[in-house]
């Protein structure tokens, strides 16, 4: 076995940011194997809120996976985002039960009140609107997850109230 290429041995994270240590540790725990790619991306998104190119390059070099493949995986899965998120996030569920019970109305209200469509962030970077395919809390449909907390049985009004509570962002 020839010695590993020096390039790969000297993989440095994109910055001094301590959060890269978490990402590096996740990969190391899985032996820096190629198969750790998705776990690495999860860890990076959890630490930074989104994925960016310098970070993906770091992951690619550490796991010895072509950057093209890393980008392929990062863009294939809906859960990964390449855009920085706003200070608050609102994820509206668009599962079947929520659809039947009016998820569209919720999205429409947010579009009217805050001027954002799913996948967008308000210009002041306060609120990001996202959609998800079912959180499995269909008994409470329609559902949204606001800053990580599930809010159920929503109406356009009660959703606006909840958003105002977390963000002080009511129009």
């Amino acid at each position: 076995m020839p010695a590993a290429l020096p390039y790969f041995d000297a993989v440095n994270p994109p910055s001094e940011d301590k959060r890269w240590k978490i990402v590096a540790a996740t990969m190391r725990k899985l032996g820096n194997e190629r198969t750790a790619l998705i776990e690495a991306l999860h860890s990076m998104q959890q630490a930074f809120g989104y994925l960016d190119l310098p970070g993906l390059t770091f992951v690619a070099a550490t796991l010895r996976v072509p950057l093209s493949r890393v980008c392929g995986v990062a863009t294939f899965y809906h859960y990964f985002t390449m855009k920085p998120q706003g200070r608050h996030t609102c994820v509206v569920c668009t599962g079947t039960a929520c659809h039947i019970k009016g998820a569209e109305r919720l999205l429409k209200t947010i579009a009217e009140q805050h001027g954002v469509k799913p996948g967008e962030t308000t210009p002041d970077r306060e609120l990001s609107l996202l959609t998800a395919r079912c959180f499995g809390t269909c008994g409470l449909a329609p559902v949204a997850v606001i800053d990580g907390a599930v809010a159920g049985s929503l109406t356009p009004d009660s959703l606006e109230e909840r958003l105002a509570e977390v963000a002080g962002h009511a129009a």
Partner: protein, 536 residues
């Protein structure tokens, strides 16, 4: 832990539990938790403490899903057997004062068909034990099946018993579980791998989430038994990222099981070793398909590949792989503990046992139920589910999510099993059941599912990637009342192509919601035709 130690701990825990007075159990599954059930539990405990009640007089604890998610947060009280619904934090003093007596405003009748018509095997511990406590699971007879299997049975005997039970895969397709296990057991190559598919992607389905949040050890035990039966040493649970609570509970359960020698090296003092790792999905519906799921575990895009080779021969990392759904594994400990014959008593000729369904949509009792196979859809929707809220009329029940179909009123008396649902143009699927009332347009529902399949198509094969887009656009013409009779023909032709030429189940089943609504509710499509003389 050795077999004797498990038995002793179980007996000790049961004795301790029987010495308790009032036990107030608060649901701690995701639905009720989002209705502040954690704060409610703390308040109940604080109230009990402030009244100087000792633990043997009144205990407050967390349990798994109590089932009626739409009426959360739920609280159950033993020994009185009372259940309270929509409990507010301000109700806590009254509940503690009366030690679970009549608190009329929030009282729920435990004799409701919702509770009495169920037959619980998979959910036997849901709402009865604290999912974060291994001791609770052992007190309920947990890990006995594993320890006994390791000590007293050969792998072949286990496979034979699972085969005799008639258990079929609960992920939707209904492949006989025993047959699958036998194939993996016979496959050459090592190491072998066991995967639990917890990528419950069907919107409207939450059975697996609930099982993992309420009784995680049950799934681990089922996996370990499977691993012993097929000769596997390594396991994965592939779970979707949208289920953070289930992930947390699984992590706790894995830690406890490993620490107590119920997973890891030399399980229960035998030469058998098996360890399980978690893999978190990243929001791709197609990863519920087994070959795509395995690609995802390998750190690649979740794209399916043609079969054969089947996972049993060449699965994840090229090793022989057994892959079953959460609910399938959750059935295993009960089958081993109580025997194949006992399990086969329930159900129909070809579909044995029970099925867990997630009831949602336009229905009074939204929540999680487990019923014997062969029960009629009418019983599920109108008796257990309590029917449609308001004065509205039933229109259809959707089963099987984006791969299933809509079943109309006239077939509600059909017994539920794998074959009958397929005959009706739907599928059993993983167990999501969404009730649709007269206010919803079924063209809209079909379009909703087609949009779902269109965005979730992985893009590998053309019939699915391009066909779903074209079908979605065609359906849009019906919604906009611009369709022509020729569009109806085009839909039929295109559905045929997509169904028969797509690579994996996603594409092959994508036309189902459309075809079933076209079959039973053709008039709604005809209403979408452009008016005569509109220039087309």
């Amino acid at each position: 832990m050795l077999l004797e130690e498990i038995e002793a701990l179980g007996a000790e825990q049961r004795e301790r539990a029987s010495a308790l007075g009032t036990v107030i159990s608060v649901c701690g599954a995701a639905g009720c938790q989002s209705m502040q059930s954690d704060a409610l539990r703390e308040q109940l405990a604080a109230q009990a403490q402030s009244r100087g009640l000792k633990p043997e007089e009144c205990t407050v604890r967390q349990v798994g899903c109590l089932g009626l998610c739409g009426a959360g947060p739920l609280v159950s009280v033993e020994p009185s057997g009372r259940i309270y619904q929509r409990v507010r934090i301000s109700d806590a003093p009254a509940i503690v004062d009366l030690l679970g007596g009549d608190v009329e405003r929030i009282q729920l009748d435990p004799q409701l068909p919702f509770f009495t018509r169920q037959h619980r095997i998979v959910l036997e511990n849901s709402g009865a034990i604290d999912p974060d406590r291994l001791e609770d699971y052992i007190a309920a007879g947990g890990y006995l099946a594993l320890a006994k299997a390791l000590a007293e049975m050969t792998p072949a005997e286990i496979v034979a018993q699972v085969t005799r039970s008639g258990l079929r895969g609960r992920g939707g397709a209904g492949y006989p579980t025993g047959l699958k296990w036998g194939t993996v057991a016979k496959a050459a190559g090592s190491p072998k791998i066991v995967i639990c598919n917890a990528d419950e992607g069907d919107p409207g389905a939450f059975m697996d989430r609930s099982v993992l949040e309420s009784d995680p050890h049950r799934v681990l035990e089922g996996m370990a038994i499977a691993a012993y039966a097929v000769g596997a040493t390594e396991g994965f649970i592939y779970i979707r990222a949208e289920y953070p609570l289930a992930i947390a509970r699984l992590k706790t359960a894995l830690r406890h099981a490993e620490r107590n020698g119920l997973l890891g090296n030399n399980i229960s003092g035998t030469p058998f070793s098996f360890r399980i790792s978690l893999r978190i999905g990243a929001g791709a519906f197609v990863c519920g398909e087994e070959t795509a799921l395995m690609a995802s575990i390998e750190g690649r895009r979740g794209q399916p590949r043609p079969r054969p080779p089947y996972p049993a021969e060449r699965g994840v990392f090229g090793h022989p792989t057994l892959i079953n759904n959460v609910e399938t594994f959750a059935n295993i400990p009960a089958i081993l503990r109580r025997g194949a014959a006992w399990f086969a008593q329930t159900g129909t000729e070809r579909s044995k046992g029970t099925k867990v369904f997630a009831l949602a949509g336009a229905i009074r009792n939204a929540g999680l139920i487990e019923v014997p196979m062969g029960i009629s859809l009418r019983d599920i929707v109108f008796e257990i589910g309590g029917g449609i809220p308001g004065e509205r009329k039933f229109k259809a029940v959707q089963t099987g999510g984006p791969s299933g179909g809509c079943i109309p009123e006239e077939f509600l008396d059909t017994p539920v099993d794998y074959e009958t649902l397929t005959r009706l143009g739907s599928i059993m699927g993983s167990g999501g059941m969404v009730v649709i009332d007269e206010t919803s347009s079924l063209v809209d529902v079909a379009r909703y599912f087609m949009e779902f399949c269109m965005t979730e198509s992985c893009g590998k094969c053309i019939p699915c990637r391009a066909g779903t887009v074209q079908l979605y656009n065609l359906l849009g013409r019906f919604s906009a009342r611009e369709a022509t009779p020729r569009d109806l023909e085009r839909i039929a032709e295109l559905c045929d192509v997509v169904r028969h030429t797509s690579l994996c189940g996603l594409g092959q089943a994508a036309p189902n919601p459309l075809l079933s609504t076209l079959r039973y509710f053709r008039s709604e499509y005809e209403a979408g035709l452009a008016p005569e003389g509109a220039g087309r």
